[in-house]
């Protein structure tokens, strides 16, 4: 029974939403169900926040390894929660938006959270360099092709590419590096991406059908009832 009810709900809602694509009077169902989902997700946040607090408070209480990180997490969480809930420093008081100019919440967001997020994001530049170094080593034929394509695109997107092949006459302009870069991006790359997208779409259809028909039950923990 514990599995039959979720399976029944999945079948009913899935089938209804497929039908709604073709029957205009049911067209708003998708929006309504998305709204239901958002409402449920908001309440589920209490579970998430509660779990975060519980795990880190237990770590603090037991002085487990790396408890210092937990202290920072818990104090940051409670501080932001308090200044957001009580709108501390908010010029318009409790009735004003939580992120009003001048409020503590806004100040913390702009001066702590945003810079920290930007810092994490900027790490990507270094990781791209290290990953490219490994990926572009010409170990075999495929890797060599990848290296050549990457090299052309890198050159084609910089003034150096124009400088190196700008002398090539107009009737051979396809051989100019910037044009080659555009061709690689618009033809082989786009064709490959579209092929992947077609495969993904079919995969989504098959997965959805497996879930709707109850063939796929592993997300409920398997077949046993």
């Amino acid at each position: 029974m514990k599995r039959q009810i979720p399976l029944l709900i999945t079948f009913f809602v899935g089938t209804l939403l497929i039908i709604s694509v073709f029957v205009p009077p049911l067209g708003d169902l998708e929006r309504d169900f998305t709204l239901f989902f958002d409402i449920i997700a908001v309440f589920a946040f209490f579970l998430g926040g509660g779990n975060l607090l519980r795990i880190h408070l237990m770590k603090l209480a037991n002085r487990r390894k790396d408890w210092g990180f937990s202290a920072v997490t818990v104090s940051g969480f409670l501080f932001m929660l308090a200044i957001g809930l009580f709108k501390v420093g908010n010029p318009g008081g409790i009735a004003e938006a939580v992120d009003a100019e001048g409020s503590w919440f806004k100040v913390m967001f702009d001066n702590v959270i945003n810079p920290l997020q930007s810092t994490m994001y900027s790490l990507l530049a270094f990781f791209v360099a290290s990953a490219s170094y490994r990926a572009f080593r010409a170990k075999n034929r495929e890797a060599t092709m990848l290296l050549i394509a990457a090299f052309i695109i890198l050159l084609g997107r910089t003034p150096l590419g124009v400088m190196l092949t700008g002398w090539i006459p107009e009737w051979m302009s396809v051989a100019q590096i910037p044009n080659l870069a555009v061709w690689i991006m618009n033809s082989p790359n786009l064709a490959g991406q579209r092929a992947i997208m077609i495969g993904i779409s079919l995969g989504v259809i098959a997965t959805s059908l497996r879930l709707i028909l109850g063939v796929e039950r592993s997300y409920l923990g398997g077949d046993s009832d």
Partner: protein
């Protein structure tokens, strides 16, 4: 002030018009001379210029809806110009059942369409547009009274229905065929073949397995696919008595993942080994989540990392950090832009559809494998139409042959329906 041009227009003979214009010119000339010392005299004259209304206003029922939409189209006022334009905006008015006009919207200059999304069946509507200028306005001719209609079937999506029906029928057909015991060939997927070895390695090394289900919520099919794989992976982990960490960025994913892992541990006969803390919520913030998972990877040094689900900019940050601690990494996403990062930094990558095939593949159940075969029929259809479209487009471009052009138009019609 609302000017109604249709009522205000009077036919004036040419000679009289000329005399009137001459008189007006003399008056203006005298006035401007008399007020030469006043700097704003000319601009005052400009501000009182009349503005032309919009023309050709048409209201029509929106095709294929529940009867709640009516679309308006019009030609903007001739005074609606980028240079020296007088129009400051448009107001859309509606009368319901010949009642008082209600203003529906204020639109910026250049607007020429509007969709009324609050219509009701059986009510009679009429619309007009008021063109706004600095100190004046002009009302258009009102549309003929009309009603909105409800359509029960979206005929524009006929081809979409046909394609979906064929693919769904193929999936169901092969599921049923497999149920009857027919052996189906499924190609090997290296990333999925490696799961047992990867979990076994973690067990031997005495280090945990890290499972990251992406950063989207349960309404993303990629997250669902990740959880179905989690069901298989956690079963193996329970069998091997290994350890799993699963930090998540959505509360609902946390709840669903706990249920999945718990069920797997129960199915493996080891409910005592299950612990709620295997799955923990971190934050909804993308890079806050990344910082936490990166920290976990560096501190705990997991032997095996699964990165399966919806990933964005964090894909490479996570994969490279995992690579730096020497973990075996199995990644998969349906976001083509993130696939190169995973391919560069992970040992095995499930490319697009393989992510969705994974659960069926790992289950080894005939009925699940049958659905993969049905998917292949869809691929066959896609291949046929891609080749046919390419050939037709090439011939049409090179030789402009009538029947081939018709085929191309038909293909465009079929695959552009939504």
């Amino acid at each position: 002030m609302i000017v109604e041009p249709q009522q205000a227009r009077v036919v004036i003979p040419g000679t009289v018009r000329f005399l009137l214009l001459a008189f007006l010119a003399v008056v203006v000339s005298i006035t401007s001379t008399a007020t030469a010392s006043e700097p704003n005299a000319d601009s005052t004259l400009l501000e009182t210029q009349q503005v032309e209304p919009v023309t050709s206003l048409v209201a029509q029922d929106f095709k294929y809806d529940n009867g709640e939409r009516i679309e308006l189209f019009w030609v903007p006022s001739v005074d609606d110009r980028l240079v020296d334009g007088l129009v400051t905006g448009y107001e859309v008015y509606r009368t319901v059942n010949e009642g008082d006009p209600q203003r529906l919207a204020i639109l910026p200059p250049g607007a020429n369409t509007f969709r009324d999304e609050a219509a009701e069946i059986d009510s009679v509507y009429s619309y007009y547009i008021t063109t706004l200028a600095e100190e004046t306005s002009a009302k258009s001719v009102a549309t003929e009274p009309m009603t909105s209609e409800r359509e029960w079937l979206n005929r524009d999506r006929g081809y979409l229905f046909l394609i979906a029906f064929v693919i769904a029928a193929a999936v169901i057909f092969f599921v049923e065929t497999a149920k009857r015991g027919k052996k189906l060939f499924i190609r090997k997927i290296a990333g999925l073949e490696a799961i047992d070895d990867a979990v076994g390695r973690a067990t031997e090394m005495g280090r945990p397995v890290l499972f990251v289900p992406g950063i989207h919520d349960m309404d993303d099919v990629q997250t669902l696919a990740a959880l179905t794989i989690l069901g298989r992976v956690s079963r193996t982990i329970a069998d091997y008595d290994s350890k799993i960490f699963m930090p998540v960025s959505r509360s609902l994913v946390m709840t669903a993942a706990r249920e999945t892992i718990k069920s797997s541990y129960m199915a493996a006969g080891r409910p005592d080994a299950y612990n709620d803390d295997m799955v923990n919520y971190v934050t909804d913030e993308q890079f806050g989540y990344v910082a936490s998972v990166d920290g976990l990877i560096v501190r705990e040094k997991p032997a095996t990392i699964f990165l399966l689900g919806a990933f964005f900019a964090e894909s490479l940050i996570l994969a490279e950090t995992g690579n730096s601690v020497g973990a075996i990494q199995i990644a998969g996403t349906a976001r083509p832009a993130q696939l190169p990062f995973f391919i560069a930094a992970c040992d095995f990558t499930l490319i697009g559809e393989e992510l969705f095939a994974a659960s069926a593949y790992l289950s080894d159940e005939p009925k699940q494998l049958g659905s993969l075969k049905g998917q292949d029929v869809g691929k066959g259809i896609a291949m046929f139409f891609v080749i046919a479209g390419t050939v037709a487009a090439t011939i049409s471009y090179a030789w402009d042959i009538g029947p081939v052009n018709d085929v191309l138009d038909w293909l465009n019609q079929v695959f552009s329906s939504n």
